[in-house]
Amino acid sequence: MPGKSSIVVRLVFVITLCCSSIFAAALGYNYYRSRQILEQELENNARNLAMSLVHRVETELVAVAKVTEGVARSLETGRYSEQELLALIRATVEKNPEIYGSTVAFEPYAFSRSTRLYAPYFYREKGSIAFSRLEKAYQHVPYLYWDWYQIPRELGKREWSEPYFDEGAGNISMSTCSVPFYDAANGTRRLKGVVTADISLDSLTKLISSTRILKTGYAALLSRNGMLLAHPLKDAVMNETFFSIAEERKDPSLRELGKKMIRGESGFILYTSLVGVRSWMYYTPIRSTGWTLAVVFPEVELLENVRRLSMTMAAMGLVGILVLTAAVVSIASSITKPLRSLAAATHVLASGNFDLDLPPIRTKDEVGLLTHDFQMMKESLKEYIRDLTETTAAKERIQSELKVATDIQASLLPRLFPAFPDRPEFDIFASMDPAKEVGGDFYDFFFIDEHNLCFLIADVAGKGVPAALYMMVAKTLLKSEGQRLGEPDQILGYVNNVLASDNDSCMFATVFCGILDVRTGEVRFANAGHNPPLLIESRRIRYLDLKPGFVLGPLQDMAYTAERLILQPGDTLFMYTDGVTEATNSADELYGEEQLLQALQRVPDQELTDMVHYIRGEITRHANGAPQSDDVTMIAIKYRGMQDDRKG
């Protein structure tokens, strides 16, 4: 199951990400550079296009202006009768197809003393030349107050009018070229009138409107006031200025642009066009009228080719990256597949099934090596487990044999109580709870003759089989020598010498050995390094103060001291091994001699059986669940005295 952390995923992720980044950077740079190159090219193209349009318009305008100037100059130099004047104006219109209409408008009374206003107007109508008189044609506003008359009159120079709808005379949208002419009679230069030539705005803007730029680009024409004269926004033409649109759109940058245009500047900019498209625009003035011509290239269309190229490249790149990803996936998989199957196999292996076959080794790479090592490991493990199994089996066999040995050992100890039902002079009770393994504790009691009971308690150092065997040897020796020698010090000395000869294993045992004369209650005893027994007398309980004696086994020719005490009837001698005093709880606190003394003080007059069981219980309580580490062995002898005396 390849999860988030799987090698394949990580590998694919990193490689794909890196490749994508590199590719994206390359693509981005390519796009950016192409754009730059395109924009440089575009500026030239746009300028050339705009200039050619300007040139065509200018040619027309200049021609019209020249004609108008010519008429004005000839009116200043020659004398014309009305007939000749009308012929001149008519010819002006006829000979110049770009001129829509023409008039010579006179200052009041300048044409004749009898007529105040005079302005004969020839213009084109339905393919022929029509005639009207402007002083009559203009119903509401005399021609004197029209821009085309007033402005050149006030400025005293040729002027192109702001385009207007010539209501009443030409009745079309037009721009008028006006040239004032003067009368230089009697020394003063007096304005005589204004010669005009109209050009139809439609015929002028047709050229501009019909210019196709890409798909949705356009050429536009603005007047000196920023009025839209030719523009795809048909409703705005002759209604809106660049500035009113800027105000409507609350776009100060548009206003700034408009100001640049009407100042007669040229420029190439990227802006949001009036039709709301990000576009490049080249704008340049038409000098003779002060108008502005603009060519607008929508950025989207310009960059279409670059975009398409980029898209193609991006598609190729995407496919490439996909292929690369697939390749990475397959390589990574081929690397990780054996790894994964190995992982799956080792997973099974880990659960303890060593019989599973590991995936076959096909390559000599790390995975192959790893598989090989795993194979080796598997074999070794199998081997080891086989050994372990065998060992365990052997161990278990030994364990069971040890168990048997323990049982045998236990059975060696006298277990039958009361041990001597026919001897009322004393009671004796003993118990041994072996620890887990075969222990080294033992006790024994036997009569060595009619009246002398030999009893002993011993603790062999160490555990397990050697201790058990040693104990057997020691027990057998002690019993046989006890019966032979009959004195505790001699018994211990003799047995010590036997045990110490060729004792390579340095085993040893502690032994407390005593002999009770049942007739007198006298106890002769000797100690070989064993814990001091307790003497329970009628009034007090005390530990015997023993002479020190060396343990049995390590060294030969050890001397042991014989001591004696007299048991009064009712007295009890309580012996034990260190399994009692050194019993520990989980906090490693020893049971200790003091506690043992106190425990016995609570039960001084109990039957021996109960006393021993009570102490055993106390130890268990003290251990509080902690495992028993040593054999717990106790033997107690209560002297009752001679019964015959009481009878007798």
Binding site: Q139, V141, D147, E162, G226, T241, F243, I245, E247, R255
Partner: protein, 342 residues
């Protein structure tokens, strides 16, 4: 829709003949037609001549007409064509219009010339006219205008600037100016007459920035001349005072509606502009409507527009008499048509 025909070219006939034919045509075209809901009363025919062709300056009247407010007040109103070359004062005087929008200065001048017209309502409460120079001309004060070329509109519209120049004792070279600002833009004149709500904004929309212009608002130069008011002849008021009252009420209601619904109002105004075939520029009309609100609601008592304040009236009368533009002016009651109500 009725639009008077444009002049026929090559027609050298008599003007009165044309006007009669126009009137005939007008009567034929405007056969009474009532909306279904207004059939309970016969509407009284009436006509209004504004100062100029349709624009937001007259939004209140066009809105009242378009929204049927006049009809609700029992009037079948016709708004007559106006614009360059039309004189509403003249038309009113000749009885060709029942009501006209005139400036207070115009009305006083006509009254002084013997025309018995009365002010029914004063719509614009203060002067919005201004003289404008380019800062580059160096004209900073009224005194600087001395000897400069100043564009003046024809007819009564030149009264306020003349009064101003008289007051400051400044002699200028007057140049008649048409309704375009091109003469000024091209430098043919140094100063131009302009309305705050119209020509000033046209200049801004021709690429001039406010900081390039030196404004001389008459209002700030002590010329408290209320402008547009609704006028009728005394005899018209006499014949049917109810009609006059209804007309004023409907017009003011139209104005209130216009200020409350500016977008709808602009749609209506632009519709009428297109019908009259005049260039329509929404932004410009929006500016104009906003300025009209400034001017109509300027210093009105209890928020009620349309009142001619006596002190304003007396002030204008005195000022015009002082400059010699009028000989005399009637008392306030007579001028506002209240004398015969008493």
């Amino acid at each position: 829709m009725t639009i008077l025909p444009h002049s026929q070219r090559n027609h050298t006939g008599w003007p009165w003949l044309r006007q009669i034919s126009a009137l005939l045509l007008f009567v034929l075209c405007s056969a009474p037609w009532f909306p279904a809901g207004a059939a309970e009363a016969v509407l009284k025919k009436a006509s209004l001549m504004p100062l100029w062709s349709p624009q937001a300056q007259f939004a209140g009247y066009y809105v009242a007409l378009d929204k049927g407010i006049y009809a609700r007040h029992g009037i079948d109103l016709k708004i007559l064509k106006a614009g360059p070359g039309y004189s509403p004062a003249q038309t009113l005087q000749e009885g060709k219009a029942d009501f006209a929008v005139l400036w207070l200065t115009t009305a006083l001048q006509r009254r002084s010339a013997g025309v018995k017209l009365v002010n029914l309502a004063q719509i614009i409460q203060r002067s919005s006219m201004m003289l404008i120079a380019k800062k580059s001309s160096g004209i900073k004060t009224v005194k600087d205008m001395s000897g400069r070329k100043v564009g003046m509109w024809g007819g009564e519209l030149s009264i306020p600037p003349r009064a101003l120049l008289d007051r400051y004792g400044v002699k200028v070279r007057e140049v008649p100016q048409s309704h375009t600002i091109n003469l000024f833009l091209r430098g043919g004149i140094d100063l131009t007459s302009a309305m705050w709500y119209n020509e000033y904004h046209v200049m801004l929309n021709a690429g001039l920035d406010p900081d390039e212009l030196q404004l001389f608002p008459l209002h700030e130069l002590g010329m408290q001349y209320p402008e547009d008011g609704i006028y009728t002849l005394e005899k018209t008021l006499h014949n049917d005072p109810a009609l006059a009252r209804a007309f004023v009420a409907a017009s003011l209601e139209g104005w209130r509606y216009a200020f409350a619904h500016p977008d709808e109002t602009l749609d209506i105004v632009i519709k009428y502009m297109r019908e009259a075939q005049v260039p329509a520029n929404r932004v410009h009309q929006k500016w104009m409507l906003e300025r009209m609100q400034d001017l109509i609601m300027y210093d009105v008592p209890q928020g009620l527009p349309g009142q001619l304040k006596q002190q304003d009236y007396e002030g204008v009368g005195r000022a015009l008499r002082a400059t010699g533009l009028i000989r005399s002016y009637p008392d306030y009651a007579t001028f506002s048509g209240r004398s015969n109500a008493r």
